[in-house]
Symmetry: D2
């Protein structure tokens, strides 16, 4: 992976800043003759759009995607697919007060250190808005893996410290917070309201499950399936931890408890989370991503200015109280992108 491109054969490049003219993605290596329309992509984009959810930002974007290349008469041609999403509601002037200040928890300081310049409006490139390009690309990845019978689903495992014991996937799909447990969701909604009132924000944990994945995907030893999934998820701005299968809990198990016995019908347990030695084993892939609270809080914060002098920053503007649930389609997209790439790579070796 290098800079703004991810993948070896299915390659996604995203571009764009929060308050520039547009964001977008170029997808190279998509197999030819796949049915693809703007509606296929729009459907996923709509899932990540700010909406009426309890945690949502009031910013309104239509997020209309335009396919500029790579599709001919409704089918992919094998050439690069360029996707464009205009930033229609990009009022950058709200950020004028932040031009010379570093917001704690954001990339302001580190971008300035790296590049000696930054587009301060809405976080520029480091904005969550960049993920629109990922979700758009992920919609194409999903179509590729769906042809091989693979699906990716994610839900809210935890929000603001409230753990949701999953009842069913169906419950999560119809839940505004993608929560698989209505009782937990009720408490989460209440906690979000409290945080918003307090001018504060909450974090949470997303669980992603991949079903139907054949054994054999993943390239040892530096592009293992778990390594690539970890990078793909840790590369989402909000994510501070990733675990596969039993994850951190595995570190407290004995070998005899942790090993998944193998039977003619498959693995008896799934502490491995579907991945052994970096290669899928045919079980469900189970991953969890820990998301920090959104750093944009409505409280004065201690910081410094561009000249290194002490300052206080107060962030106005429009912000969510939690990245959950909007981060969920982003997590799904990143997992789908990694899977699509490895599916193509495995085809190349003829299995």
């Amino acid at each position: 992976m290098s800079g703004n491109t991810i993948g070896t054969l299915f390659r996604v490049t995203t571009w764009g800043e929060s308050h520039g003219p547009a964001v977008g993605a170029v997808i190279d290596g998509c197999p030819p003759r796949l049915d693809l329309s703007a509606a296929d992509i729009q459907k996923e984009l709509d899932r990540r759009r700010p909406g009426g959810l309890p945690s949502a930002s009031p910013r309104r974007e239509e997020d209309r995607v335009e396919i500029l290349s790579g599709v001919f008469e409704g089918k992919t041609t094998g050439t690069p697919i360029s996707l464009l999403i205009r930033n229609r509601d990009a009022d950058g002037s709200a950020y004028d007060g932040l031009r010379n200040l570093f917001r704690p928890g954001h990339g302001d300081f580190s971008y300035q250190a790296k590049y000696g310049i930054r587009d301060h409006r809405g976080g520029g490139r480091a904005s969550g808005r960049e993920t629109a390009g990922r979700v758009a690309a992920g919609a194409i990845a999903r179509k590729i893996i769906a042809e091989a019978g693979i699906t990716v689903s994610a839900w809210t495992r935890e929000l603001g410290g409230i753990i949701a014991r999953p009842l069913s996937l169906a419950t999560a799909e119809t839940s505004p917070l993608c929560c698989p447990n209505p009782e937990a969701e009720e408490r989460m909604v209440k906690r979000l309201a409290e945080a918003r009132t307090a001018g504060d924000t909450l974090g949470g944990i997303v669980e992603i499950v991949v079903r139907g994945c054949p054994p054999g995907l993943g390239e040892p030893v530096f592009s293992k399936m778990d390594a690539d999934l970890a990078a793909a998820l840790m590369g989402i701005g909000t994510v501070k931890g990733v675990e596969i299968g039993a994850g951190f809990a595995a570190s407290r198990m004995t070998g005899s408890a942790c090993n998944d016995p193998i039977t003619p019908k498959g693995f008896r347990t799934n502490h491995a989370g579907g991945i052994l030695a970096g290669i899928t084993n045919g079980s469900e892939i189970v991953i969890r991503a820990a998301c920090k609270p959104i750093p944009s809080i409505a409280r004065p914060q201690e910081t410094i200015d561009l000249q290194g002098r002490p300052a206080v920053v107060t962030i106005g503007g429009r912000h969510d109280a939690s990245v959950i649930p909007r981060i969920i389609p982003v997590c799904e997209a990143m997992v789908a992108i990694v899977l699509a790439d490895h599916l193509l790579r495995q085809r190349a070796i003829g299995r």
Copy 2:
């Protein structure tokens, strides 16, 4: 990252199987005119070698590294550095009984599914022995980053569920278990002995700390420092989870508690773990890797054979009771490799 190569400018390719003639690494992109001797590399290799530690395997390897290219009269020339480590004590016959069986928790099943063939002796490519190449390459990476004032250290944060409250780094350096707390270490040694007696194994958590890292390293948005570190660590066979800074705990914090206030002297706290928006911020980089228990246990286990029939496998041979502490120089090596690559990449943009 692709297959057996990691890095964009500082590129490491490892090769070799547990019971083949040798293992090794090719390092491409090492800057010229760096002092380098076999002894520099040997020193690191000796740290990961099976020894007399409480958790150690009785396998004896000299692990003598030979530099085959890229060094002239004691200095690197800028050309690829080829490192060779012969497998001297590679008795493959001990594995004959495993030729047609899949060991639970190992890559046997997934490698067979991927390639339709596998070198069953000692896990073949999926063996921990492959990491000798990583540690050797990491020794070179360490020298590169040391010139920029960057050091990487790791220690045992947890073993078999026993948490070590760190007293000092010096404590860990002289500890056989790399444990920063003598009292915890005593309990760990005892727990390891119990596990060994029970024919079982233990997992643990390694903490890696990077000191002296300048701000500005990391390439958004798909080769962020945290994403690359996560991939590098998750790509170690034993690792099932990675977290940066506050990690999973961040998901339970509020934004006002999690954000690190910025002062003229630096960040007041370090919940970010030294990385903001994927770019280093000048604070210490703090990462934790969760290691599962070694899957080679001395107990009969339920499995299947190559034909899919039920079977019982009992693993003989020589195995550690825990990957800790031998995994520690491997973790350090992977982190050093990622840092060296990003250091060179940052130089290219002239900062």
Copy 3:
């Protein structure tokens, strides 16, 4: 290089089809704080636009470039620069008769064989129009190398078999055919008119010269400067041969004649064309690219249809009589892109 992306650190991805909505490029890895405006890019695009030149197509495109990202208040930010050029005059219906036929000399047959589908309108992705994205990206590359004192110029060395003995670079710059010799140009214009009357087309040879290049650029052994330049030029649709310095003539020289003697003031001759062992030596880089005649001729041609049946194809539409001079800014752009990439790579090793 992989698919539609070229470069290791300065990375250019182009996308778009001749008669789709737009063409464009994403440039990743551009150093920050470089002055950049749409006008900088437009200037280069205007050079490759169909104009009133003797060889020109009557197709009219405004070719207005829009910068969608990566530039903030007139300066690059280090993030990806997305460039968009709408296809305004894209009348695809003229190509309806070609939907089921393969035009000789074009990529129709090979694209169909590769992808099992193709956008037949104007050659789709294989159209010369794709090079607009390259020229736009090249404009940025030129700015990067200009800061290091490097310039790239190209001119017509030969057209339709007429050789131009160069008088001066200035002559070529003001010549409609980029021809450095007015007498030769007069004959070229006449030959082009004859070809056009005959419904035929002509090829030629472009010479590219790089001035001010420091010694030391190029990465042995598979990303040598000459190897990368050869790939960059051979990857232009029309190019069938590339030579550096003495080129093919070197194969008929003796070693004593071909070797360039070295003096305290530099190399006495330049048969090497500025590159030794794949690394620049400080002399001018001299490259020649042989361009075949444009395959779109106004004569009936023998071919087959999609079903493999014999057919006759007659190509209507708007076409140039020669790729020269429009290919010249494309050649320059590709050379500039390669140089910019190697300049950044060399910085990484600290020289």
Copy 4:
């Protein structure tokens, strides 16, 4: 392509200096379950070894290849294949006089400029000896493409200005100079003897033909088959020009003469050299590489020393009078490597 690695899926990394302990290659991405023995590779290495040919160097190397990994019980496993060739006859002291001098026509000057250091013995990394690793890797590539019915052959098209009108491939195969015309060969042998007597060297042109290549290989627009082949050949130290099909002659043809008419039985002519728009069209691929005379001549030459002072260099040691025919298996290897990579890439898109 980056540095010392070539390929996207079939990836070859070479390492080693002329007078270091060894040279070698690591091949990553070789499909599993391919029969492979050291003898398969040795056969190709023996073809490039200095022998009793009229043009040959008296240096004697056994060039015994050792397979260190990636092969189990005679079959590839899908893991990296490490190949080692010891430098047995590496007498570096003969080069002591060259430590501070730059040999004209060699990489001495440019390597010094790039790295600020160089292994001066026998050209170090820039030595032709490095190509042993390429030929070894090419032997594996040949086996991969052979399974798809593809073969690569090369012969001497021209040597010292003497053109060989090809009689038959069989003639070239049994010829000491790989010359397809006995009468021309006789004159070449004489010309070589004259050059050797004069302390001089000769260049020549190699023609490479690929038979049995299916249509559809090559990735537009920056990894086209012709672009990748051009880079692979131009990246051989001796090559100064590359042309495909009609090549430079195409620049003097009209479109009506150059276009290859398409018939139900295939292309009527092959001016395209088997490649259209960068993708193979099913015809033979025909490429020519122009090789300069070997720069190591037995005459005093004008040069400078490390301090930039005028000097005279006289090269002793053991050298060929021409790179032909020893360069021929190297050309074949590079072409085979590119084809193997594209064959795997094409499989990935499911065609």
